[in-house]
Amino acid sequence: MGIIRTENLSYVYGEGTPFRKVAVDSVDIDIDEGEIVGIIGHTGSGKSTLIQHFNGLLKPTSGKVFIDGEELFADKSRLKEIRFKVGLVFQYPEYQLFEETVYKDIAYGPKNMGLSDDDTDRRIKETARLVGLGPELLQKSPFELSGGQKRRVAIAGVMAMEPKVLILDEPTAGLDPKGRDMILRMIKEYHAEKGVTVLLVSHSMEDVAKTVSKILVMNDAKVFMYGDRSQVFARAEELTSMGLTVPQVTRVFDRLRAMGVEFSDEVFSVDYAKDLVMRLLKEKGDVKVD
């Protein structure tokens, strides 16, 4: 059994009012430990609602959620423990910063866990390094930092709790390409270093394709599919019909393959594509197309 499992999970907003809306509709998923998973779907497909169930912020209207084999809401007093197990970084997390210094803000989570000062200090220094915040920034006020830096402080605040599952909701929203790449690289490194489960919610296929190994596609409050990158992107047409796209570079290589060029692998990132093309060019002198 995986670290996150749901059974027939449904959530309805505004039950009994004219604004009633089914946000999550009978979702069954099973995510294995150590996996790095992208959750995609266009706006309003229920991604954000779904992930808020994973640490008990929302109580399912019906169905069950299991974290690490333990049922959520079976025992309410365990909820706080579970929240420490599943770290959730919200959209625009920089809006939750409140402390006088970056250091204190990152310390908020670990302090709530009841860690000693030494432990907290160690974790803050470690996560600050992981997210690329220099030691000189730690004593600054978080409100003095740039947007990208604030975002990284907020993410560090959750990472410092060292959760077994890290969930990030649109961590790159509103950032410039450089800031975006930095955050994604940081998430990848964090996953590689800690070996924990990471869930990355996004509506950008490009972001997801670069970072994750498995993809969960949400559409109209339902899980459309859950599988490896290549399995998901193989259904490019269906994805397009629900307003999602396959990464540009994958599309280019799909076309090339259709034209008869042989590739051993699926292509998801420009870097990989470059390597592949260079290798092919070296092997053959030039690529034959018939």
Partner: protein
């Protein structure tokens, strides 16, 4: 939860109550409040109850929503109830223990005042349920506009109210979001004594203030970009017009008010 606060929450619909001219509706609400305060006995309040139920039924708003609107003021009702119960000493003594004395007069006042407050809140909630905030402030602006002669800033006040009302749901949503975010970081809002709880609110209030100021600044900028420069010379998209139903509603309301006054004079309960 925080989402239970319903003041300023519009419930879209097409009922008679929804379609009343907002100026008339405001006037009716004032008359209703007068009715409640004129009523000196339970029979008078009973007339108020009938009026309220009639209005709710006509509006098609579920009665459940009426109860929901009372929920946030339960502490106030309890507080005034206790004050009335202990500090009014008229009528027979029902219970005495040291300095505490409960009398029939106190009990009666407690129930009477509590009913009055509940009726008051339900009635005004109906106004906000059936009138969108924008229409409501429009009406206020129109009602206050004669005061412009004495340089009363009617438009500015109406605009401020529109903005304030408009941002209540946004700020509630924002608070919810920040609360969730801090809870995800292990914030404990539900346990501990008063001081611990107050301290636990700091991580929520600071980001909320910061975002409120940011929003205000962005909104001011956006308004200026669209050449907003106050109310002078502004025309409106929707002109307010009264219809026969407005006069009928007014007549019915006056009838109820008259009934309350008559009951006051002839019946003493």
């Amino acid at each position: 939860m925080i989402k239970d606060i319903t003041i300023g929450q519009y419930f879209p619909g097409k009922s008679v109550v929804h379609r009343l001219d907002p100026r008339v509706k405001l006037g009716l609400t004032v008359l209703y409040i007068v009715m409640l305060f004129v009523a000196s006995g339970f029979l008078g309040l009973g007339v108020g109850v009938i009026y309220l139920l009639l209005a709710f039924l006509l509006s098609g708003i579920p009665l459940k929503m009426m109860l929901k609107s009372v929920k946030p003021i339960v502490p106030i009702i309890i507080f005034t109830g206790i004050l009335n119960l202990f500090f009014i000493s008229s009528g027979e003594i029902l219970f005495e223990w040291h300095f505490i004395k409960i009398t029939t007069g106190g009990l009666r006042t407690m129930i009477f005042m509590a009913s009055r407050i509940i009726l008051l809140i339900c009635g005004t909630a109906l106004l906000t349920y059936t009138t969108s905030p924008i229409t409501l402030t429009d009406a206020i602006e129109r009602i206050l506009s004669p005061l412009k002669i004495i340089h009363f800033p009617a438009h500015e006040i109406a605009m401020m109210m529109t903005i304030a009302l408009r941002f209540i749901p946004t700020l509630i949503e924002e608070t919810d979001k920040i609360m969730s975010a801090q809870k995800a970081r292990g914030a404990d809002l539900d346990t501990g004594n008063v001081f611990q709880r107050a301290k636990a609110l700091v991580p929520i209030l600071i980001p909320l203030f910061v975002s409120a100021f940011r929003r205000a600044e962005e909104l001011a900028l956006a308004m200026e970009c669209r050449c907003y420069h106050g109310g002078d010379g502004r025309t409106r998209l929707k002109q307010l017009k009264t219809a026969p139903r407005d006069y009928i509603a007014l007549a019915v309301t006056l009838l109820f008010l008259a009934a309350v006054i008559v009951l006051n004079i002839f019946v003493k309960i």
